[in-house]
């Protein structure tokens, strides 16, 4: 871990300004991912701006009938909030499928959106990795890639966004609220928040330098049945091989996003539209253009089968 300086900002705009003016600065919320990466010197911030005093931990209704979840709300607080449980069950289910109770007590909304990939080559500083060291190459291509992406990846990187929470937010059409160093706010649809890797896999989101996430807004409730099915090699405490977040209406229409397969929560309008025709059609639309490796080719049928499981459960209920 490199030595770093630390401050606790007083307002969101001040925090944004502090990061913007200090080269190598980063925000820190729960630190459940950042600190691990700092110990391995995969992240080497020179300065940390802590957002814990910014009162960004609230969960409150919006005027539009939705719900706003603060950037600093813990995963545990969000998942257990009665309004989330009642109206946005997919979100509660996704969050509790991730990590462990202890980690969810520390992990936050903003931090979870910014969780970095769990590609093993990203984690070993001796291995070439375009995400960790741009231009060094991608070791995962041609290497051990069982856990990695099959769609939306590039020749420079086949890593995945590893989180669970964001898959549910994608299905709910959430928006990411931010403030910039000038105090200007904006709202980024979650589908536009994460970037595909392309030639620049080290740039993972469309946030600008110093731009601070202040919260995530969920639109008014969708109704329907909510599902989050996470497939993994052990029963708990593992990243998804594939996960399906879905909201299904009584008429069989619905929407779904899939985790564990792409640089971002993977949702495709044509796939949503194909849901009434069944899992095969919907999964085919979702995975159009997929480029799996030999190691992770199984994810293609696994997506379809997991979606089929969710649809069968919806039908049975």
């Amino acid at each position: 871990m490199k030595p770093f300086t630390y401050e606790r900002a007083k307002t969101p705009a001040e925090a944004a300004a502090a990061v913007a003016r200090t080269p190598g600065a980063k925000f820190i919320a729960g630190g459940t991912n950042l600190l691990d990466l700092m110990k391995l010197e995969i992240e080497t911030p020179t300065h940390l701006v802590d957002i814990q005093d910014l009162k960004l931990d609230r969960i409150e209704p919006t005027s539009g009938g939705g719900l706003r979840i603060g950037a600093f709300a813990t995963n545990t607080a969000t998942a257990s909030d009665p309004r989330v449980r009642r109206d946005y069950g997919v979100l509660t289910r996704a969050i509790v499928a991730g990590a462990s109770g202890q980690l969810r007590n520390k992990a936050t909304t903003a931090g979870n959106l910014l969780q970095r990939t769990r590609c093993p080559y990203f984690y070993d500083p001796n291995m070439p990795c375009n995400k960790r060291k741009p231009g060094s190459g991608c070791s995962a291509l041609g290497g051990y890639s069982r856990q990695l992406g099959i769609v939306g990846t590039s020749d420079a990187c086949i890593a995945t966004y590893p989180g669970d929470m964001a898959q549910a937010m994608r299905v709910l059409d959430a928006s990411v609220e931010t403030v910039d160093p000038q105090g200007q706010t904006r709202s980024i649809p979650i589908g536009d928040f994460h970037r595909l890797w392309g030639d620049t896999p080290h740039i993972e989101t469309n946030l600008r330098r110093g731009e601070l996430i202040t919260g995530v807004t969920l639109p008014r409730p969708l109704g329907g049945q909510h599902f989050y099915q996470k497939v993994r090699d052990r029963a708990s405490y593992a990243y998804a091989l594939v996960s399906v977040a879905a909201v299904i209406q009584p008429d069989g229409s619905g929407r779904f996003a899939v985790g564990g397969i792409a640089p971002k929560p993977w949702r495709v309008a044509a796939a949503d539209a194909a849901m009434p025709q069944g899992a095969k059609a919907a999964a085919a639309a979702l995975l159009a253009g997929a480029r799996p490796t030999e190691d992770n080719r199984f994810k293609v049928p696994l997506v379809e089968r997991t979606l089929a499981a969710v649809m069968a459960e919806a039908k049975a209920a």
Binding site: M1, K2, P3, K39, L40, E41, R118, P120, Y121, Y123, D124, N126, M127, S139, G142, G143, Y144, R146, Q147, Q229, V231, R232, D233, R234, A235, S236, Y237, A238, Y239, L241, V242, F298, P301, L302, R305, T306, A308, A309, A312
Partner: protein, 740 residues
């Protein structure tokens, strides 16, 4: 004490304390976080500095240059020592091959190449990243499947006692197999595995002149002392090794590793005590691992199920001069058949050193043999329990005049079948559904030898009437403290709480140590011998000449005379010291332990995920000294078996030559949610050929066969046979039955 004939009746047979489910006497220390593990022994030496180990970034080649200038200048750095500062590789102990430190040559990824010593851990780690190393890479061999076809034959020993000559033949295998009406001939694979114990390798070293003390985490104190003295070229008598608490080892701590060597070298260079722990990401590649195997089993049987021909071969890889994984050992002994053939092949690989991991040989060997038996049962249309019963043997099948000391494998199978509800199993696969789950049951046999070895101890009656036990025996989480206290209490007629047990110090008498499930029986037998000496000494001190001296309720009684133990020690402490010497008892009889494992699994018909629903192990392992700690050993081993069957695999990057999933996020072991229900039954068959304790090992038996029972249950659930471990969902997903 020479043990050269079966044990007669002795004080242990009273079973007033031994054989009882006594709580662990070290439990309160562990549950309150006050047990002194190596890295936290802040009190043993003043002014400890922190060492951080740097691992090689390449798998094979040599170092051409190391620039440590920036690291040496970094804040808090006391000293930096590189492998180039040591002219040639430090000499290894007899059971190891990989270089622990020294010289420019790189044999494997994450080989230790430097230690940075600093005032704080963070400073040491930060400075370590500033060392710049230049390498010349040499092409290496990392792909076992590629090397397997031309790998040479090799005999070998597991380092934990299992061994095999290069090729072992009885009768005419080829002829009998060709003539057999029912056959199985399949190839199976098991992956590389890492021990993944909670406590990493950790040591503190302090020099006082030319004398060195190391506080470390190690299973085998005498081996450590021998090997560390050799590595450092110091006389063994100048070295003290202390390891009273160990946070798991599973064979990964049978030998010294880079942590203790570099703590010692770092302390010398820094001229102050140095502590070192290996970081988690270094543990998979810097230390040892269980090697992967490619195994072929051929079974030929008559239509009644009797085996006529058994062949088992296994290929593993290791560094040059390394040992094979002895995966065929159990096949020599487990089932009767007149025609047999077993052999090992060993390829040279440039991966880290393969070596012992819990039940080396038997663990991967039984995962395969017992799956093949399931396949044979199906080919015969025979119940897999009955197939095993009909092929039981009471003698070593290779040497018919060499009987087992005790063997109750059939009783394990019958008892387990009854208790588990085996008769409810549908022999036709893929027939049982519970919602989205395909449900199946599987059985497999477990086998692991009971190894006899010398073990010594000292016991002292203190002035206050309490007893102190001292032996270099270790407790690796197994319950050794407690069973030694029980043994002393039984022998001396006191309560467990009157016994103080001190372990893991090389100044104490040399014990069996912890490995190969030999610890419990041999170390308690050594203490038994010491207790006999103490009983004599006490009787003599009291002037009780009668041969019939009884020790009970804190008193010594001979005829009408009686005294308390405290009275006996009034004139000063009394010591008894002796050891257990098993002579050739382990050779005169084949001494082994047996188990039957029963497992029910559910396989998600959509996703292919396997979840274990319930497990039962029935164990035949002699007298059980403490049913509570023994049960804990077995359920822990069963849990490890779930890992081996369903998820554990070190992923080899065949280009860079390393295990790439080198942390606990990517190398998955079971979590609580994977283990819903476990049951253990111990059969009560004391073995008088094993020791005066009549006990045997149990810690590895619990793992042996579990993986196959799970694999067989999966097959029963799905009808898809996966012969490559671990059985992850991708291996059967697209062959699963259609969702109805």
């Amino acid at each position: 004490m020479k043990f050269d004939q079966p044990a007669g009746t002795n004080p242990i047979d009273q079973l007033k304390v031994v054989g009882k489910a006594v709580d662990r006497i070290d439990g309160p220390l562990k549950t309150t976080g006050t047990a002194p593990y190596a890295y936290e022994r802040h009190d043993v030496a003043p002014d400890q500095a922190y060492g951080y180990v740097v691992g090689s970034a390449i798998a094979k080649g040599s170092i051409t240059r190391m620039d440590t200038a920036d690291a040496k200048r970094a804040p808090g750095v006391v000293t930096v020592l590189t492998t180039l500062d040591v002219a040639k590789p430090l000499p290894n102990g007899p059971q190891n091959t990989a270089t622990l430190f020294g010289g420019a040559a790189i044999q494997h990824y994450h080989q230790a190449i430097a230690i940075v010593v600093a005032e704080t851990f963070e400073q040491a780690r930060s400075a370590a990243a500033l060392i710049r190393t230049e390498y010349t890479r040499t092409p290496g061999k990392y792909d076992l499947a590629k090397e397997e076809p031309h790998a040479p034959l090799k005999g070998g020993s597991s380092g934990e006692g299992s061994s095999a000559p290069p090729i072992d033949r009885v009768g005419d295998f080829a002829g009998a197999f060709a003539a057999a009406p029912v056959k199985v001939d399949q190839t199976y694979t098991t992956p590389d595995e890492t021990h993944a114990m909670m406590e990493p390798h950790a040591s503190i070293a302090a020099w006082s002149g030319d004398r060195l003390t190391v506080w470390t985490s190690n299973q085998m104190i005498a081996w450590s002392k021998r090997d560390l003295a050799k590595a450092l070229s110091i006389p063994p008598e100048k070295l003290r090794v202390d390891s009273p608490f160990i946070g798991g080892g599973f064979g990964g701590k049978l030998f010294i590793r880079a942590d203790v060597v570099l703590a010692a070298l770092g302390a010398k260079a820094a001229r102050r005590p140095v502590k070192v722990a290996l970081s988690r990401p270094m543990m998979a590649n810097n230390t040892t691992h269980r090697p992967a195997t490619i195994q072929r089993v051929r079974l030929g049987a008559n239509r009644d199920g009797r085996l006529t021909a058994i062949a088992h071969s296994s290929t593993s890889g290791n560094l040059p001069d390394g040992k094979p994984e002895t995966a065929v050992s159990q096949t020599k002994l487990f089932y009767a058949a007149p025609n047999r053939e077993t052999y090992l092949k060993l390829a040279v690989l440039d991966l880290p050193e393969g070596n012992a991991m819990r039940a080396p040989g038997e663990a991967p060997g039984l995962m395969v043999l017992e799956m093949a038996m399931d396949e044979l049962a199906e080919a015969l249309r025979m119940d897999p329990v009955e197939l095993r019963v009909i092929n039981d043997t009471q003698v070593d099948p290779e040497k018919p005049n060499h009987p087992f000391s005790e063997r109750h494998y059939v009783e394990c199978l019958r008892t387990g079948a009854e208790r588990f509800g085996w008769s409810q199993r549908n022999p036709k696969p893929a027939q049982v559904r519970d919602g989205k789950w395909l449900v199946g049951m599987g059985v497999a046999g477990g086998f692991r030898n009971n190894q006899l070895t010398k073990s010594a101890a000292r016991i002292r009656l203190e002035r206050d009437g309490r007893l102190t036990v001292e032996t270099d025996m270790t407790d690796i989480g197994t319950g050794t403290y407690t069973i030694l206290a029980q043994t002393a209490a039984e022998m001396m007629g006191v309560r467990v709480q009157d016994v103080n047990v001190r372990l893991g110090d090389s100044d104490f008498p040399v014990s069996a140590g912890s490995g190969g499930q030999w610890g419990a029986n041999n170390s308690t037998a050594g203490l038994y011998a010491a207790c006999l000496k103490l009983r004599e000494a006490i009787a003599q001190r009291l002037g009780f000449a009668s041969p019939e001296v009884a020790f009970a309720d804190g008193k010594v009684t001979a005829g009408s005379r009686s005294a308390t133990l405290k009275d006996a020690a009034q004139a000063g402490p009394i010591t008894g010291e002796d050891g257990f010497d098993p002579t050739d008892m382990g050779k005169r009889w084949q001494q082994s332990t047996f188990a039957a494992h029963f497992v029910e699994v559910g396989v998600n018909i959509y996703t292919g995920e396997t979840r274990v629903r319930r497990m039962l192990a029935v164990c035949d392992a002699g007298r059980i000294l403490n049913p509570k700690s023994a049960r804990s050993q077995v359920i822990g081993a069963m849990t490890m078996g779930v890992g081996g069957a369903l998820m554990e695999e070190l992923a080899v990057d065949k280009r860079f030559g390393l295990f790439i999933n080198h942390d606990l996020a990517t190398y998955e072991v079971p979590v609580h949610a994977d283990i819903p229900h476990q049951d253990v039954i111990f059969l009560d068959h004391p073995d008088d050929k094993s020791s005066p304790m009549k006990a045997k090992g149990v810690g590895e038996l619990g793992l042996c066969g579990v993986g196959a029972a799970i694999a067989n249950a999966i097959y029963n659930a799905t009808g898809v046979r996966v012969r490559d471990y671990p059985i992850t969902l991708d291996k059967h997903l697209e062959k699963l039955p259609q969702v109805a």
